[in-house]
């Protein structure tokens, strides 16, 4: 790749394809996330990072070396990482005296930080500690939020949106019903956020819908909110802007009935029968200098007599 004035030109087909894969797209795929270990990390935090990585796995990058970054003071390092690994979601973990066991959930827009929320871990149960069945890697989790704080408080609202973005996984058009086996439950209560992860067991209930039982799976966290950084309204709105071509245009006058048959409604104008093309004959041919209005056989008849 040759760099010149910030313009990168691919030298090979392969690098061209690579660059194309990173260009902005009309319809975006799944956001990938980077999970970054801070400069100083406690056992709890590094295990927590590993566990979240395990939940996110096919679409995540784990930076497990020491990274002296302070996202709330200077986010340029994060922006660099984001550009490098093409990730727009990040989780940063650190530990110090002032803010012990610290996790920062955040997301980027156009390689700049959009939102970040700093959550302190008060209690943590690792995926490793729970000796139960787990679900396969890359399972799309069901997300449940509960607690009125998630609706009334602006910060919590935004956090709900961020966590949805972080954990929701790929956008799919259909889902295998038997494959719904993981649920992430977030409860906001008394200034704390309880994140629990359960494996779902589908039991027979006698009717079509199964009865549910939950089994602890881990990781589970008790979080406390610390600092937060929310995007300004302008930026947030820009980030939500959908391009014109993203939605398919609605086709008018087409409907489907119960059997899936396509029905169309046509709007016809009344046809002008005078201009109808009939069988071509020499006698009916238009002559030179003849007016189009008098082009009826009755008008022609006297002329042929003469």
């Amino acid at each position: 790749m040759a760099h010149r004035d910030g313009i990168v030109k691919a030298k090979t087909r392969r690098s061209k394809r690579f660059l194309q894969s990173r260009e902005p797209k009309l319809i975006e795929g799944q956001k990938s996330s980077m999970i970054i270990r801070g400069g100083n990390c406690s056992e709890t935090v590094s295990q927590a990072l590993k566990d979240v990585y395990a939940l996110k796995k096919p679409n995540a990058v784990l930076y497990k070396r020491k990274n002296m970054v302070r996202p709330f003071d200077d986010s340029t390092a994060l922006e660099f990482f984001s550009k490098k690994s093409d990730c727009s979601l990040f989780l940063f973990g650190s530990h110090n005296k002032k803010r012990p066991n610290n996790l920062i959930f955040g997301r980027m827009f156009d390689f700049h930080v959009l939102d970040m929320f700093e959550l302190g871990i008060e209690r943590f149960v690792s995926l490793r500690d729970v000796k139960m069945d787990t679900c396969p890697e890359g399972t799309k989790p069901m997300l449940v939020f509960s607690g009125e704080l998630f609706e009334t408080d602006r910060e919590h609202q935004r956090l709900r949106n961020l966590l949805t973005d972080f954990f929701c996984g790929p956008r799919v058009s259909a889902v295998r019903l038997a494959g719904l086996e993981h649920v992430l439950h977030f409860t906001a209560l008394e200034g704390r956020i309880y994140m629990r992860s359960y494996k779902v067991l589908l039991k027979k209930s006698g009717c079509r819908t199964p009865r549910i039982q939950l089994q602890d799976m881990g990781p589970s966290f008790d979080f406390i909110m610390r600092r937060s950084h929310m995007a300004s309204d302008d930026l947030y709105r820009t980030a939500h802007k959908q391009p014109r071509g993203a939605k398919p245009k609605k086709k008018k006058n087409i409907s489907h009935d119960a059997f899936g048959t396509r029905l169309g409604r046509l709007h016809m104008q009344k046809q002008d029968l005078d201009k109808l093309q009939t069988r071509k004959m020499k006698g009916l041919r238009k002559r030179r200098g003849e007016k189009t209005t008098t082009e009826t056989p009755a008008a022609k008849a006297p002329r042929t007599d003469e």
Partner: protein, 346 residues
Amino acid sequence: MASCSVEDVLAKAERDEAEKLKGITVNKELDLEFDPGNLLAFDKNRIDTREFKDGKREDFLRSLARDNTQLLINEIWKLPTERVEEVIVAKLPEPTTLLPREKPAPKPKPPTKWEQFAKLKGIQKKKKTNLVWDEVHKEWKRRWGYKRAKDDTKEWLIEVPEKADPNEDQFAKKNKAKKERVARNEYNRLKNIARAQKIKVPGMGLAPTPKQSKAELAQAVNIAKISTASVGKFQDNLPKEKKPKNTGKRRKFQPLIGDFSSEKQKQLDLLKVMDSKKPRLDITKAVNKQMREEDMEARQKNKKDFGKKGQRGKMSGKGKGKAGGKGKGQGPKGKGRKPQMKQGKR
């Protein structure tokens, strides 16, 4: 008798049904909000804190999660299903939760000079086949590239044209022409990029062209004129020759003798900068800080509009206010410092 038994059976069936449903129904004061497209549910009911504090925290959370998940599953099971390869699959609707994009929407590529011209003239791209028939080798070969048909670079003999100089090397001439075409193409590519980004198109002296325009020739003359050891100082002008634009003095120097006090002041200022122990300003950092502050201020304002917050909000406000003061203090100092450095370099 018969009618009575029928009623009994119906009642029994109803009871059975109710019992079955009992397992999967959950009663909530407020209905949950669902977004099946994201497999998402939101329960905004007030949580009973008394039950939570009883010590059975985990059990309480699990039962809450179970109820909510049951409701979400009920909602998902209502969706239309399909059988794909022996697996039952539920079709999910479009997600309703709005999530921000990762990158801004792609912009259409600005047209190149050729594309503009082609549009003006109505020239359309023609699709050509990749393989063409090579008469010499009697086989299908690529139209372009390695092992192409009618490859004129592989000729062992070139006929010397009638009017050409017989001593001229026709092979070298061909190579040179090719190199010039490649260079010109690259230059045009860069010009297209520059135009697309609205940067001033870089001047390249003179591009190889068979016929040069008046402007190009004038430019060539000007360049040639100043390409002497004395930068064109002793070159005579032709009669009626126009002076080229944008030439003249670029730098102004202070007079060698005259006002010494200002010179002295300058030197002193420079020394002051070099002597000061305050660290130099990191502009990117300062700008980041400034931006963050502005965001914070805007947020604070919004928060005030939205409603009061608890203690945490106050604390954070204090800390940030302090940091803001520092940033502002540094700002103007840095600005003042920079031009001085430039003067020093002279």
